[in-house]
């Protein structure tokens, strides 16, 4: 078991490579994603302090990383080998129950993600994304079209087209670098499409 610091943007794991350990986020945040050979990327989830990642392959012999992981910001991670983790779970059953709960939460999240991508339109997914990520703080997060496309499971051209569609419908305003939400109830209706 060891503490592993990492810088923002640092690639921590590559999907498909042999698994060396499980990790827990102590500080900061990481993103979990998969890449297609075409270069498209799908964000699967974000891991924040207190949460683990790469658990399942670590607990399997000869497991491979399920996905790639990259630090979103400067972070500190707890790195633990599969055998050591398994020993801790056997010794402390409450730890096993907590990890089971985390896996259940991840399963819920991924099931919802599959439903969203498979059954909702890009425009509907974009409406949901804008509603969930609209900020009014001093330093809002900044997104490129590629960033948004990776969250939605599509490509940047489709995001651009969907943004123009929502703007033409009067639901948002595209004001240079600002996407401004104008009609939240209307976007809620769109997000169900």
């Amino acid at each position: 078991m060891s503490v592993r610091p990492c810088e923002a943007g640092e690639l921590l794991l590559v999907g498909g490579e042999p698994c060396e350990a499980a990790f827990f986020v102590l500080e900061g945040a990481v993103r979990v994603f998969r890449d297609a050979p075409s270069g498209r990327q799908q964000i699967l989830t974000k891991i924040v302090p207190g949460q683990p990642f790469n658990l399942v392959p670590a607990l399997r012999s000869h497991g491979t990383n399920h996905a790639s992981v990259q630090a979103i910001e400067r972070s500190r991670l707890l790195r633990i080998g599969g055998a050591e983790l398994l020993g801790l779970v056997k010794r402390y059953p409450d730890l096993g129950l907590a990890l089971l709960g985390d896996l259940a939460d991840k399963l819920d999240h991924l099931t919802n993600l599959v439903e969203t991508i498979a059954l909702r339109s890009v425009r509907g997914r974009l409406a949901r994304f804008l509603l969930d990520h609209a900020e009014s703080g001093q330093v809002p997060r900044r997104w490129t079209l590629d960033d948004i496309a990776a969250q939605l499971g599509t490509v940047r051209d489709m995001v651009g087209r969907a943004l123009r569609g929502l703007s033409d419908a009067g639901l948002i305003d595209l004001n240079r670098e600002r996407i401004v939400l104008l009609d939240r109830p209307g976007l809620e209706v769109e997000s169900a499409q």
Partner: protein, 71 residues
């Protein structure tokens, strides 16, 4: 608006391919020996075409998402 956002350029990533300047519909971007420069900022419509064509992600057109629906 008295000021407006422009694409962010990281010249350390630029390979000097010139695609951004060639693709810019407003001719806002031109190539210099050290990389692209937005020489006509008033011609930039923030269309993000330069970002789309850049093979090394040296140009980024970033957006913030703001909720004014309650105002």
């Amino acid at each position: 608006m008295s000021s407006y956002a422009l694409p962010a350029i990281d010249t350390s990533l630029c390979t000097l391919c010139g695609l951004c300047a060639a693709q810019c519909p407003g001719h806002a971007v031109e190539m210099t020996p050290t990389g692209p420069d937005i020489v006509r900022p008033s011609s930039c419509s923030y269309c993000a075409e330069c970002e789309a064509v850049c093979p090394s992600h040296a140009i980024r057109c970033e957006f913030t998402i703001v909720d004014l629906s309650h105002d």
